[in-house]
């Protein structure tokens, strides 16, 4: 129900036909979000017949959920109003200046005990303090505690200062006032499942993406969005992973990252490469030599193959005559199974890590390419614009490496079968094309070769682009059609 209400508020204009691996979203500036917020406030203010300050405080108290606020307010207006920290005495039209009192008799502020203060302030609860204490208090709350509800300073008083009051005390400190407004907007954005703040440091843009706001939608789409403030501000609307993790969905990407982070694989290695001394249980790695083991710790002598005491081997030195006995066979099976699972994981992990590493080296590649582009201009009569094909190719390689990286995470979890084979065929084609293009980019420049190189690189770039699109599109379609089968349980799949 709540979801529908939000959808009505923020209709995202459809940008016509888009590719199946792209998602509709809208980038909003802080001002645009403020307008959305203002619309909600005006809506509530109109329905309840209260001023906007009050409507805003009510909405903040209910985490901007209009439906629940209306429901609760209709049920018991007085109780909601007082819980939200609004004085019931406040006349509904007190849009005037915050109450500023200049008393005639000497006033001693109960906080700073300064009797020379002439300017005092209070909320409608009449708890009066001097203006400088109010300023210090509000500044500390906003800047240190990131608090947007500035409560009355009196003990046990739960009244919240309305925005007009906050504004009047922060009149001379616009940075703190701006911070306060930003906190309110951030609260609004955080409360609305259709909105997300751009995670890049100090970026104030917001992205609205209603089609990825529910958890169930994340099983079929990868909501990669960009906030619009800068081309690099690309992030996933559905999860906190940095950058673009297409084509793999959030749940699988998260699982993979967790697996890579966990040292469960270290334990796996220990399991497949070591054994415990049968007497003192110390972990032993056999790194060479014969089967006659002597534990360094307890001096126990045993056979590495059957784990039995060496003494039972009698005269069959250096070869265990129990090798084919059932116990020995079972132990070997268990060990090779664990080794196989480790090797499978490493197969995917190494390829994943390779692309990740290449992406990290991209800055170097860009500067190297730039030098080459300059060189080309000198050795041939190509102009700056004409050598841009090199940069374009590097851009494309970077993009495809990102896609390839995540395809390994996906393939690790895909269940064996035709679908997986097709997926890996597409993956292989892209991989091969990317490596070919990378090699071309690294090839030395000779004046007479430049025209052919240019032709080759341009053609290859187009081809790589095409292959990348095929991988992204086919994977995205697979999610929409429910074609992918996993070899473990994945969030959102049965």
């Amino acid at each position: 129900m709540d979801m529908d209400a939000f959808n009505d508020d923020f209709k995202v204009t459809s940008k016509g036909k888009h590719k199946s691996y792209e998602i509709d979203y809208e980038s909003l500036t802080q001002g645009a979000v403020e307008k959305l917020m203002q619309a909600d406030i005006e809506h509530i203010s109109g329905i309840f017949g209260v001023d906007e300050n009050t409507a805003s405080l009510l909405l903040r108290y209910m985490n901007w959920n209009k439906e629940r606020l209306i429901e609760k307010y209709m049920d018991n207006a007085a109780s909601v109003t007082s819980s939200a920290g609004i004085s019931p005495l406040e006349p509904p039209t007190s849009q005037s200046q915050a109450p500023i009192r200049s008393s005639i008799e000497a006033f001693v502020c109960p906080i700073c005990f300064d009797d020379s203060q002439t300017k005092t302030l209070c909320l409608s609860c009449d708890h009066t303090f001097c203006a400088s204490c109010w300023i210090a208090y509000a500044t500390s709350k906003i800047r240190d505690d990131q608090e947007m509800a500035i409560r009355c300073m009196a003990e046990g008083c739960s009244l919240v200062a309305p925005d007009l009051f906050v504004r009047s005390i922060l009149e001379e400190d616009t940075t703190t006032w701006d911070r306060f407004r930003e906190l309110v907007i951030r609260h609004f954005v955080a409360s609305n499942p259709n909105l997300k703040y751009c995670p890049y440091p100090s970026c104030t843009h917001t992205v609205s993406c209603p089609s990825a706001s529910s958890k169930s939608s994340l099983a079929t789409v990868v909501p990669t969005v960009a906030c619009g403030a800068s081309a690099t501000h690309k992030f996933c609307f559905g999860c906190p992973i940095d950058g673009d993790h297409r084509p793999v969905i959030c749940g699988v990407a998260k699982m993979w990252l967790k697996k890579c982070r966990d040292d469960s694989e270290t334990a796996n290695w220990i399991k497949s490469n070591t054994k415990e001394c049968s007497k003192c249980q110390s972990t032993i790695e056999k790194n060479g030599g014969c089967n006659h083991m002597t534990c360094k710790k307890c001096k126990h002598e045993f056979c590495w193959v059957c784990m039995g005491p060496w003494i039972e081997h009698g005269t069959a030195w250096y070869s265990c005559n129990r090798y084919d006995e059932k116990d020995g066979v079972d132990a070997r099976d268990a060990q090779s199974k664990s080794r196989a699972s480790l090797e499978r994981y490493l197969h995917y992990y190494n390829r994943w890590a390779n692309h990740e590493q290449s992406a990290k080296l991209s800055i170097e590649l860009y500067s190297k390419t730039e030098k080459k582009m300059e060189e080309m201009q000198i050795t041939s009569d190509l102009t700056w614009i004409e050598v841009q094909f090199m940069k374009k190719a590097v851009d494309e390689v970077e993009k495809c490496r990102m896609t390839l990286k995540w395809t390994y995470a996906m393939a690790y979890y895909l269940d064996k079968g035709n679908e997986k084979e097709l997926f890996e065929d597409n993956q292989r084609d892209l991989e091969r094309a990317v490596e070919d293009l990378s090699e071309l980019l690294e090839s030395p420049i000779e004046a007479e070769n430049i025209p052919t190189l240019r032709q080759k690189v341009t053609d290859k770039t187009v081809y790589v682009q095409k292959r990348n699109e095929i991988v992204l599109e086919d994977t995205a379609n697979g999610f929409l059609e429910g074609r992918w089968q996993w070899n473990c349980s994945v969030d959102g799949f049965d």
Partner: protein, 153 residues
């Protein structure tokens, strides 16, 4: 900003010196505006009859906008009272020292609150998580996020 706390503390100190402290509370040391010591004794019938404890106040520069750091002194000669809200390292779990702090509260009013907290105690015991907390507690009790779960004692 230090001027706020020093002016306010000056005034509080003057008041303590002219009007005195409530019964059972004595100022032990107030040589500067960073740290004050008080002695607290519970008057009348209580679990803590005849026992005196030392309370330490440390003031941040933004006092009283920010709450002071308050704890019982624990060293070779001092102990903290055995109380369900007082840890053996002297840290106190009381909401007025944290989220419920109000700038209108004062040093004396905190002393009185803590005195009555001791007075209303029915059974001398440590908080259930005492050992766990004390082993990892920060030096300044303000760095701990207490969970105020019981306001009957």
């Amino acid at each position: 900003m230090a001027s706020i706390s020093s002016r306010r503390l000056q005034k509080e100190l003057k008041e303590i010196k002219t009007e005195g402290c409530p019964v059972g509370i004595t100022l032990l040391e107030a040589e500067n505006f960073d740290k004050w010591l008080f002695s607290i004794e519970v008057m009348g019938e209580s679990q803590y009859q005849g026992e005196a404890y030392t309370l330490m106040f440390r003031f941040p520069p933004m006092y009283p906008i920010e709450s002071p750091a308050v704890q019982f002194v624990v060293d070779q000669t001092h102990q903290s009272p055995v109380h369900p809200h007082v840890y053996s390292n002297g840290h106190i779990c009381a909401s007025i020292l944290g989220t419920d702090w109000s700038p209108v509260l004062s040093v004396v009013s905190v002393c009185v609150t803590l005195q009555s907290m001791l007075a209303s105690c029915k059974k001398k015991e440590r908080p259930p998580d005492n050992d766990q907390y004390v082993s990892r507690a920060p030096d300044n009790p303000k760095k701990t996020r207490f969970h105020y779960d019981d306001d009957t004692v």
